[in-house]
Symmetry: C2
Subunit: 316 residues, 2 copies
């Protein structure tokens, strides 16, 4: 059976798989375009989930399983995959540790004013009068109380923060000091010193935050978005920052990625851009590969007990 | 009774003290030099501990108590203060939270490569191929397992790190996975991905680390010194970095402070300088003031139960 990769894993991984799964014919391409006619014979496609369209699925006549090496599925041709009853699995769950570390890193960078300190140091200036902040005692609000949000909450508690969350029921969850219901979003936003969104892109979350939500926040609030860029219109955030409604925004995700080269964010002192890499560490591919390997065993043995099998009715 | 400050606290603190301690005559100066003749009448001196010399102590004929609003006493004229049997108290203990947050902030800045990401972003470059690291699973060695070291250890555990410490007995302490004895320092250094020193300056610690200690460390190791700058000769660290014996050093303290303007550290890519401010946050003065107030109550009431009374035999 042919397994088609739309990216190039490291050589040692290729060798390991060839030895572990001798019945499989692994084919590695740099992008789906270069796969050419192999697509027609692929029973499995392994992808980061940003390159497949309906045309590819139509051509892949033998296709039975798509292994997505990321968590977001919004760029996948889900409707056609559902029609053709193709198995989809992803690597949901491996993002919690790197993304939570990334968020705490940003919060500490802000509190400890590292960029401002480094600016002085780069100019040879020894300047001790930079007023640092502490995370201890501050309120941290997390939008999205799933695996990633819970890991951020756990670290927030370790830093002696007051950790608030939002979910549909308002029911208390581990590592959260208080849980708000979604209909009290504005109240929760008004409490927070740090507002973190890890929300995925769904019909519900798209455009969830409007002008009024940034106006609810403290003028000293720091907003961090590592979820999805369509949570709000960037014009709304630009205006909120220009009006000093909040103090700073750290943005890892955007309505359009890469961020357009003419976007105002690039020149705003109160915006720190990172290029969608909160989950990207050297551990990412090994962890994804481990899930792929387990699922490949299931696929070859019995076709049950997949890790992260996507329910295409629910969409996740 | 006259209480002489060698620095200017905020106005609201002055007003609060005047109201709370009507029997005291508070005098606030910008530096000990400007105190002039008031020194002769001062029964209490409140200082950051870097400005008093023997001449001042001789002039301060009424002096009975020095409240040091910092933790380090190495610049104080301790010999003469001991001879004159003057009470010394300091603010030891308030440094744990800010310094531990500072250290984790530096570690995350390194692991997440924020400066490198920002360099691209400043040039308008969207570059996602920057390989981040995780703290999870890494080994953290803390030299100095007191209050600050323990708080760093606690946060290290929260980040799922393997936390190692060193003390004289090798006896296990809370939040440490393993504790080494001092005579196994080289072994401990060889285990660590991050080596943090919070050691104070004592006869034992001065020059404790030599060439051979940096050679024991992993070539990928990150060394962070927020203790005291005389732990090693800077020539030793410069050589270790130039020989790629370790990967990076974050230095908040130096043999001479401010760091000499001609020091090689300023131009080394593998050195990140911060100007001795790991404990400096907006919470510092309020917390110090709270200890001063409690001690002033004790001083006026009964002269016992001081917070952080220094034993001048031991020197801490």
């Amino acid at each position: 059976m042919k397994i088609l990769f739309t990216f190039q894993p490291p050589e040692e991984m290729k060798m390991k798989w060839a030895a572990a799964f001798p019945a499989c014919d692994f084919q590695f391409y740099e992008g789906i375009q270069s796969a050419g006619k192999s697509l027609a014979e692929a029973e499995v496609i392994v992808t980061y989930g940003e390159d497949l369209n309906e045309e590819h699925i139509l051509k892949a006549e033998q296709l039975r399983w798509v292994m997505v090496m990321s968590a977001g599925l919004e760029l996948m041709p889900l409707k056609m995959l559902k029609e053709k009853e193709i198995l989809i699995t992803n690597v949901k769950g491996i993002h919690a540790i790197p993304m939570a570390e990334f968020v705490l890193g940003l919060m500490l960078q802000y509190a400890k004013q590292f960029p401002r300190i480094m600016k002085d140091i780069d100019q040879g200036i020894w300047h001790r009068e930079i007023p640092g902040l502490e995370l201890a005692g501050q309120a941290l609000l997390i939008l999205g109380a799933g695996a990633i949000g819970s890991e951020i909450a756990r670290l927030g508690k370790a830093f002696r923060m007051n950790v608030l969350g939002i979910n549909t029921s308002g029911r208390k969850a581990e590592n959260f000091d208080s849980m708000y219901q979604m209909d009290n979003l504005e109240g929760a936003l008004g409490e927070a010193d740090y507002v973190i969104s890890v929300l995925p892109s769904t019909d519900y979350t798209r455009g969830l935050l409007g002008k009024e939500h940034f106006q609810c926040m403290k003028t000293s609030a720091v907003f961090i978005n590592i979820g999805r860029g369509d949570l709000f219109k960037s014009t709304v955030l630009v205006e909120a920052l220009e009006n000093n409604e909040i103090a700073h925004a750290f943005l890892d995700v955007f309505e359009t990625e890469p961020l357009e080269s003419v976007h105002p964010y690039w020149n705003m002192e109160k915006v720190t851009i990172t290029p969608h890499l909160s989950s990207r560490t050297k551990e990412y591919l090994p962890r994804s590969a481990a899930i792929f390997e387990e699922n490949l065993k299931s696929y070859m043995n019995n076709g049950v007990n997949y890790i992260n099998e996507i329910d295409l009715e629910r969409g996740y």
